[in-house]
Symmetry: C2
Subunit: 429 residues, 2 copies
């Protein structure tokens, strides 16, 4: 597809073709939802054995605790070890929580807002800094951005590329401004691009100079084992690199089993240096008596350890790979090869999303057309702070929930809409 | 037992008797834990059928939602209806949460700290009021008090009696000071007294004049169905009374199934007027995608409705009543009749605790002696703000966890220690 070389007449002919394809789809009255990274029914089925009552045995943890009763603030010891394996840290650096790692991120920032990042009296509550700011790599995850928006941070976008955020820019922003308190990151199979941060990027995160002593990296390792080809991507541990760089308190990592077992009924975890863990626990000890230990026990009994998880994720990959392939195939069929900056899409090796970049200023119109045709994508702008993408070009494609045929139809419709919008613009010049 | 009428010689003789009883117990090397309101193994067994995988059926809620997947921020509709029945409010006034109502209380105050109680810009974040205060009925629940202590409130104690808090005092405190932001309350089978607030008290709560427009009553109806005799105590609904009084936003109610099913794996709920529910949901929508709906489904399938809960609680009562009776019996055997202000204890019709008042200035010493003998009670002072009971007289007895024989030994040891401390003081005069 190369419309730029076509004359008006040829463009009009092409427009007719695409419009008749669009109308054919319109007539089908489709309802397709590609909005969220939601596992499909077949994926949920993989974890049904976890709900068997026999898996809970005598309801006891390894240390003898009756998991039905109160207690164990930081989570079951074996659940901490298990989540620590996933995140690459010792169990003692883990707090294992309830069904939502997003909740742990929100609560951690809420704690820092009200009490600062430690007991040290120089670490003032972030609430008191009226000029507080947070770095948001773009395109990125909408639910991250709205958390810091709600807490009144000014959100600073920084572009992300295949190797991670633009670290020159990140280093520049954090160097001089003590009001820059943190950055969001999805380091592996990033949402929505699928990018895997490079080791160099991770080392620069660990070593960079921050004006704010209480600057924190919120490292949401949501897709750490969510490969679709072969095995999980290898990546340096930011936790280890921060220790080596003498900044052990800089990173707080998050993870969950939401997309390993059940999105609504998984377990979550937070990892940090011991001082931060102790500080957070001192606050959490007033918030709850402890997490749902029965569900933690279910998870450990079912998945066992990181090897068990990788085996389990291979089954997810069997379901997910054809869906990613279908999206890529339609894009290639319709558009040919991706062209950087004009019309491009990512080809992730894992995660839940593909990011398509339409031409600038086209995404909203394209997605409106899709919606009229019964296909819902994540709204344009969602990948950016304040839900405003200044280029109006980024579109997040979430292929997990629909089946392959539905995905093909949805992406085909998307491509048709891109073409129609593009031709109309060329004709209007 | 009336030592006041005895001479020194008789007192010394009595001291010898009690000390030899104490030493007999010392020699037994007991380890008895009466510290927390923790259900016993027999109680946990009552809810084991809830963990059967067959109870979850096809994992679907009434409205067809797959409970394993993401979504449903305010909780499953049938879980909201169910918790609403327990708390006496419509389901639409309920947010149904995870395994901890304490967590919902903490988060609600955290939200008010950071954002105020509503979208109204006159409702400033409580954080900004450096003089913020919270009323704590005493004796009361330590975990309530430490939440507001952590958030930097000045804690104001108000005495509680068999009909509820001293409402003259409460009305006086809230009338003139706009920095008084709230009050804790456990209205039925109160912790630790077992008192049931009277209807008059509830009406005064609903109608009282508050200087702070954003004054809120945190109504922890933790024991609403936890009767040990016959059926749950009837009580006016503060929710309804607040509506009638034109103060619908004044009360936020909390409840959970922690002591109905499993303390570590129950479900919780918060009830409030629609405006507050909507406000809280607008904040919670950034915190999580939704609660563990599988566990909510389990609960509704197992307990069904309020009648199902009452039937289930009768089984708890069969286990709990002999334990309460054992405590009362030992107190009567050892002390005779309770004497108001000197040596007294409550005789609850439900809940999890009995409150014993030793003579003033004796509780710490008595509990130290108990501890040396291997019996742990909730530490003296725990019933009061900052863990300081200025009278040093209140002791919380938690009889749920140990078996009846252990309870008898523990309470007997407690009584012996009270006697020894009292006689020593009389001898020292």
């Amino acid at each position: 597809m190369n419309y730029l070389g076509l004359g008006k007449k040829e463009l009009k002919k092409e427009l007719d073709i695409q419009q008749s394809r669009y109308e054919k789809y319109m007539a089908m009255g489709l309802t397709l939802d590609m909005t969220r990274g939601k596992p499909c029914a077949e994926q949920l089925k993989l974890s049904e054995p976890m709900l068997s009552d026999s898996i809970l045995g005598d309801y006891r943890s390894e240390n003898g605790t009756d998991c039905r009763n109160y207690g164990i603030l930081a989570g079951l010891p074996e659940a901490r070890t298990f989540m620590g394996e996933l995140l690459g840290v010792p169990g003692e650096n883990i707090i294992c929580g309830g069904n939502s790692s997003l909740n742990m991120m929100y609560d951690t920032i809420s704690t820092f807002m009200l009490f600062g990042v430690s007991e040290d009296e120089n670490d003032r509550p972030w609430f008191e800094d009226k000029d507080r700011k947070f770095i948001c790599p773009v395109p990125g995850y909408d639910r991250h951005f709205v958390i810091t928006q709600q807490f009144g941070f000014k959100l600073i976008p920084v572009d992300i590329g295949p190797d991670g955020p633009d670290m020159d820019e990140v280093e520049r922003i954090v160097r001089d401004d003590p009001s820059v308190k943190g950055i969001w990151s999805v380091p592996k199979y990033s949402n929505p691009t699928g990018y895997v941060y490079s080791d160099e990027c991770i080392q620069r995160f660990a070593r960079m100079k921050c004006a704010a002593k209480d600057f924190r990296i919120f490292w949401d390792d949501a897709y750490t084992v969510h490969f679709i080809n072969g095995s999980p991507a290898k990546q340096l541990s930011l936790f280890d690199e921060c220790v080596k760089a003498g900044n052990p308190e800089r990173v707080i990592m998050f993870g969950s089993t939401s997309k390993i077992t059940f999105p609504g009924a998984g377990i979550s975890a937070l990892a940090a240096d011991k001082r931060t863990i102790d500080f957070l626990l001192s606050k959490i000890s007033k918030q709850t008596i402890g997490p749902d230990k029965l569900n933690q026990l279910r998870h450990v009994k079912f998945l066992k350890n990181v090897d068990g998880v990788v085996e389990h994720m291979k089954k997810h990959a069997v379901i997910m790979k054809p869906k990613f392939d279908a999206v890529g195939q339609i894009f290639e069929n319709e558009f040919g090869a991706p062209r950087e900056g004009q019309l491009s899409w990512t080809k992730p090796e894992g995660g839940y999303f593909i990011c398509c970049r339409t031409g600038d200023g086209m995404a909203s119109e394209v997605l409106s057309m899709c919606r009229r045709c019964g296909v819902a994508f994540t709204p344009a702008g969602s990948t950016h702070p304040y839900k405003i993408d200044p280029t109006d070009s980024y579109v997040r494609i979430a292929p997990s929930y629909p089946d392959v045929d539905q995905i093909k139809s949805a992406v085909e419709i998307f491509c048709i809409c891109v073409k129609i919008v593009l031709i109309n613009r060329l004709l209007a010049v």
